[in-house]
């Protein structure tokens, strides 16, 4: 029997392959005590044995067999029954092991890790990974419709390896509705999970009970708030072009009769040289290539200020249209502010994973909302930051928001924008 030590960090699904195989074969495989990931496997002593410094790694009791790569270790500690009786069976086992590594593992990681906070969430990548994994699982489901186990009529190393590779997906992302479309895979997974040798390594595999949700805080914590290199993609221009036109129409609607009693709260502030109406006209009629330079040319930093606003509770945002209503609702409630203010507020991301932020410009150097009691309904839901008009960062922000491009801090892509004018 292959007695030895397995170096791994706890709850490593790759290490489970060898540990479960050892339970079946009776091989005496012990997990190295006092293993510290990032220290033990970077020590000179460890690297001498395993130059890659990767875990799991296996060292036989006599020190003669040194192995890295989980499938090889699992093979080594397996019994003949697990490996397969003849070359054809062994090859089939190998086929599934390779398939798990090439077809399942990359997609599973790309789908699961963002939800665990190990990887940055990118809607597009997650969707792609989801499609890839589900396509692979469909193949597996077809195979298991007519077979009880992967190879032959008994549990082999193929079952163990594929099972271990799928643990994360079943625990975190394959919610009941998805599992219902993968009946045979789920049947097989549950049977594997219930086997005594598997249970002695993994006593309780709790299957995912609800669709996963992304928690940006988790990633921020784990990644130590690493600064993202937001990949700026300029698209959705077409959609953008259409909307200002609509907004323009609204502007051209018959003027409401003025209420003389109500004075404009902005009247108390000096007018300055920046003509808000002229800029809005330019922004509506011209491309951003013209209107943004126009803005900087005419902007009067003495009497006007630029602000960055970020919605404080992005985790509460669900459907895209609801978030858009949130923005336009705020605009409506701030109607009287329109004359001396301009804003571009954008929604980034999609359903259940989005954020709202915007760039505002108004007369005066202070938060304008305090000027009128009518304007104070929404602004406290946003974090406000005054921007220095001379700073290059500000130029970039204005560029991004006025032209509806770029991404938010989490790298979500621009989805929709609303203009307050």
């Amino acid at each position: 029997m292959a007695a030895g030590v397995l170096y791994t960090y706890p709850e490593n699904f790759r290490a489970y392959k060898a540990l479960i195989a050892a339970q079946y074969s009776g091989a005496d495989v012990k997990v190295a005590p006092n293993f510290v990931f990032g220290e033990t496997n970077k020590s000179a002593e460890f690297l001498k044995k395993f130059p890659a410094g990767k875990v799991p790694a296996y060292e036989s009791a006599d020190g003669k067999v040194l192995l890295s790569e989980s499938n090889a270790i699992a093979y080594y500690v397996s019994s003949a029954a697990l490996r397969g009786a003849d070359a054809a069976t062994q090859a089939s086992v190998w086929q599934w092991a390779s398939w798990a590594d090439s077809e399942l593992l990359p997609a599973s990681c790309a789908w699961v890790f963002p939800y665990l906070g190990i990887m940055q969430f990118n809607k597009q990548n997650v969707e792609r990974a989801k499609q890839d994994l589900l396509a692979a699982l469909k193949v597996l489901d077809g195979h298991l419709l007519t077979r009880t186990f992967l190879v032959g009529e008994r549990i082999t190393l193929a079952d163990i390896i594929v099972f271990c590779t799928l643990i994360h997906a079943f625990q975190h992302v394959l919610e009941p509705a998805t599992r219902a479309t993968l009946v045979s895979v789920t049947r097989w997974f549950n049977t594997l999970a219930a086997q005594a040798p598997v249970r002695s390594v993994l006593p309780d595999v709790a299957l995912c009970s609800a669709p996963p949700t992304y928690d940006p805080k988790k990633y921020a914590e784990l990644a130590g708030n690493k600064k993202e290199s937001g990949d700026k993609k300029k698209e959705k221009k077409a959609e953008k072009k259409e909307q200002p036109k609509k907004a323009q129409k609204e502007e051209e609607a018959p003027l409401e009769p003025k209420e003389p009693a109500q004075a404009d709260p902005f009247d108390s502030l000096p007018k300055g040289t920046f003509n808000m109406d002229d800029f809005k006209r330019c922004y509506s009629n011209e491309d951003e290539a013209k209107s943004i330079p126009y803005f900087w040319e005419k902007f009067d930093p003495e009497n006007y200020s630029i602000w960055y606003a970020e919605y404080k509770y992005p985790e509460e945002l669900a459907k895209v249209f609801m978030s858009c209503n949130l923005i336009t609702g705020m605009f409506q409630r701030l109607d009287k502010m329109r004359k001396q203010a301009f804003a571009s507020v954008c929604l980034f991301g999609g359903d259940n994973d989005s954020s709202i932020s915007g760039v505002w410009v108004w007369r005066g150097q202070e938060l304008a909302f305090t000027l009128s009691p009518d304007w104070q309904i929404d602004y406290e839901s946003y974090a406000w930051r005054k921007l220095d008009p001379a700073a290059p960062d500000t130029k970039q922000l204005v560029q991004d928001y006025f032209s509806w491009s770029g991404t938010d801090k989490q790298g979500r892509k621009f989805n929709q924008g609303k203009i307050f004018k």
Binding site: L145, T146, R147, T148, F149, G152, E153, R154, V183, T186, R187, W188, N190, T191, A194, Q195
Partner: protein, 173 residues
Amino acid sequence: MSACNVQVIKQIGKYYNVPVGTVCYNTDKVLTTVLNKQSIEGFATIVLKLASSGGVKLSQEQMLLSYQWLEHLAMYVNQASANPAFALGFLKDINKALEKNTYLTGQSLSVADIAAYYVLYPIVKRLSVTELESVMHLSRWTRHIQAQPRVCTSQPPLTLNTLNLSILAPAVH
């Protein structure tokens, strides 16, 4: 002629390598045998007794689940062997149970699977290819059970051609 019959009991006895005693029908037409000078009545009770004397240890839950399946078989299998239309419905119910479970009683091979295999053998055997196609999970299970050691000692395994057919020639032409 009953399907949960003397022959099935003998096959199960052979599988567990235990004596089955003299199996016969008593005056109430109930299957009966005598083991260790003790009279045991009823198909389900006899099968469970054979399993336990064969060294099978069952938890309370497993025992009850097995008993439930054995009773279910004993109750309906006669009608199923007499009436092919009824048989198909009967098999489809079992098929449904085997969709989400690998074995009849859940996640491991039990005495219910062994007994059900022997009881259903003649019924599954006479199914047509298309009928087998409609009970895919049952076919999967049948193939698995008959591949287990000691199951196919007294009769050849069922061919279940449809499984191969569906793989070699899927229904897309």
